[in-house]
Subunit: 189 residues, 2 copies
């Protein structure tokens, strides 16, 4: 993943990775016969580790209404960190690399589902309530967009201001009977 | 741009582009001395053309409250189309290519500003009103995130459902005195 962040997909050769990891080419090829297998295993491993870290960091957040702000900040950090950058290198490379694409498509679906489930858990919300699922999805898609906007230049000032507003909006969407009006649907209250 | 979409950044050589464009290498190098100059000019040209097309398509939308839905759909199509894919190839490649990065950073800022201005114009909203600027920004960042989610697999079903909800939310945010509650700020009404 460090190689992907520093050199990009095309600069990440298995030889460079083996040298950096301090393992022989033989050992590397034994465990990961292809570059696609190697990077897919790395994304899987680091995504799982990141999920554990996010749970630990979220557990340290104070309870109360400001907890949501802290969770959004943790997620925003994940979407602007090195793992996101490395994953984006792979996602873009996979468009034009059939072997990588075949390995990544099922992984993308799984990571997407787990990220969604983790966000629901960290926010402590009930997804069966109308609107909650969509609000969580929009938050993650928004954060992915903000991650891309941060690729070439430091977008943190704009991002902080935008997320400040989004947190209030998300809080309203997640609070029962406090969401925005839904034209065309009858509201019980 | 077609080369970028089909072959990615590393597969897009100036030789391949010259052959496809039907121009001599001499003529190409005369106008675009480097690959970075060539692709930057292409992004600039196509972004301007896309803005003209978006204005034309938006002008054909019916007036009334459903106009916002049509504008969001037009923008979503732009963020999942070939120009977005080509731009993303460049943005990611520029992370690890200093020459491309130097060329793209000012372009990214300009395209970002123009996309924002165009969205304000197409939605017919007044950006001096509180919350409007942030709502437009969030819409564009959300659409960028949805564009990335569509890279490797067709995400249109999920995107359509998510945007259905987002359109209602955006309409509420853009309608005076109908936005979500803003804790901690005094409201005049």
């Amino acid at each position: 993943m460090e190689c992907l962040v520093e050199h990009g997909w095309s600069g990440t050769t298995t030889t460079v990775v083996a040298a950096r990891a301090g393992v022989s080419r033989g050992a590397q090829l034994h465990h990961y016969p292809t570059k696609a297998a190697l990077v897919t295993a790395a994304v899987t491993h680091l995504t799982e580790r990141r999920a554990v870290e996010l749970r630990t960091e979220a557990a340290a957040l104070p309870a109360g209404p400001r907890r949501l702000d802290g969770v959004v900040d943790l997620l925003a950090a994940a979407f602007t960190g090195p793992l996101f950058v490395a994953a984006l290198e792979l996602w873009v490379a996979a468009r034009t690399d059939a072997e990588l694409r075949d390995a990544l498509v099922p992984l993308e679906a799984r990571v997407g589902r787990e990220m969604h489930r983790l966000t629901v858990e960290l926010l402590g919300v009930d997804e069966r309530r109308p609107g909650v699922r969509e609000a969580v999805q929009a938050t993650l898609d928004l954060l992915r967009g903000l991650g891309v906007a941060n690729l070439l230049s430091d977008d943190s000032t704009r991002r902080t201001a935008l997320l400040h507003t989004w947190k209030r909006q998300l809080a309203a969407l997640l609070t029962p009977d406090a969401g925005p009006p839904t034209p065309g649907s009858a509201r019980p209250h």
